[in-house]
Amino acid sequence: MTMSYLTEPFQYDFFGRALIVAILIGVLAGALGPFVLVRRMAYIGQGMSQSVLGGVALGVTYGLDIYVGAALAAVLSAGLIHFVRSRGLSVDTAIGIVASTMFATGVAIISSSRDRRLNSTNLLFGNILGVRTSDIVLVAVVFSIAMAVLFFQYKPLLAATHNASVAAAHGVRIKFIETLFSMLLAMVVVTALQVLGVLLVAATLIIPAATSIMTFSAFRHIVIGSMALGFTFSVIGLFVSFHRNIASGPAIVLVGAVVFALNLLSIGFPRRSAGSIR
């Protein structure tokens, strides 16, 4: 690898902006990922991110900002999933129905729209060329808020994740913590849209966390390791994306998948596979 491999992308302004956003998203998703994984909420992350497409398409059609449409869709999908569950259906069924419907709504609108902002490839898989300065500001604000919440609420969040009944008995406000966590998850999904696209957001929550869980014992080390991996995957993925001329989302996810696979092979029979958790 020559030095130009690392320096060449910075000749373009968009790459620096994309790198900042990708790093912030990678670290934040890395911090939340272990909680998502041990809560077995990976499917909810996937469902929420797919649902966002419908919100984005409707938002753009009616003159809203992409992020506003995405945020409204994330809130709406959470509400609809809760509503369908309250009628007696299982959570995976509820997510499947709501996410598929909202995703289909998005695809239907995009396929019939001529608005240039509704580029299906960019929305589904991310587009580093489209990162604006205003995106950096938004992601930086979300990153700061989410990391502050995680810092100050780490202990109650971990207690509630491990056993909600016991945590409640020992004084943790479970409803508050659960609402907070759902909001954090929605914030990551919405802000990751630009770089990762709606189909690959969930992977950045899962792959760094799963790799870290296989490597470390203590949960605090798992979270730190997952954040470091999220950072690393984002940086390497963006360089690969630039030089190979592939969408940023798949590049970041594939780098993570390769590291995960190598880790899996290097430790032989894993002492704790990601799938065995909870």
């Binding site: 609420q153 971990l158 491990h162 016991v166 945590a167 014992s217 949960f219 704790r272």
Partner: protein
Amino acid sequence: MIRLEGVGFSYGDQSVLTDIDFTIASGELAGIIGPSGSGKTTLLRILLGELRPTIGRRTSDSSSEVVVGYVPQLDPSERSFPLTVEEMVLLGRSAFSRRRPWFDRSERAETRAILDRLGIGQLSQRRLDELSGGQFQRALIARALLSRPRLLLLDEPTSGIDLNTRQSVLKLIDELRTDGYAVVVTTHDLNWVAAHLPRIVCLNGRIVADGAPLDILNEDVVAATYGARMDVFVHNGRPVVVDPERMG
């Protein structure tokens, strides 16, 4: 310490508990027994303050709420969670600890002292899935103790662990009682509580009997609690319940 007066509880139209009068005092050790569906866990959750009685009331003897340490049933999902023993035990203080991701040196020292006392101090950096059933049970008790409770509620502490471990858990529970903790234990194991606990509460939607095992355990009480006739003998001053059909 905690008193339930005329307590009833229903899930929708389905009544689970009726007319429960129950008091637990400091330093008291009581076992709640009854068949599946008898309301044991519901009663525990009311004592815990997690459920509000549909009728009747739950009161405590102090102006502030009594801190309750809760030890849930052994749950495989809890045990496969990626935590070290020390991390899990420290979660007992998560609601009262300073708002930052790490715990103070004093909190870690308190945790180490509790783990040492429970005989698992050397396991503090082990992962939960590396513990035996008995060791994990002790870790759960340690977490409850770190919340500095006055009342300890243990849900089925003897299920899923071997006979030898049962005895050590029982010894530990008795030591906690002598330290001044009030302890309430639920169990299916009638003979275990009859042989070892000073007070048992026989539950089947309502309290069938409440008192010392030798005073209250007889064929009629067992039949009213479990809905089946069983023989009750006294052996070495302790009641023993035997299913006559299984004796051949």
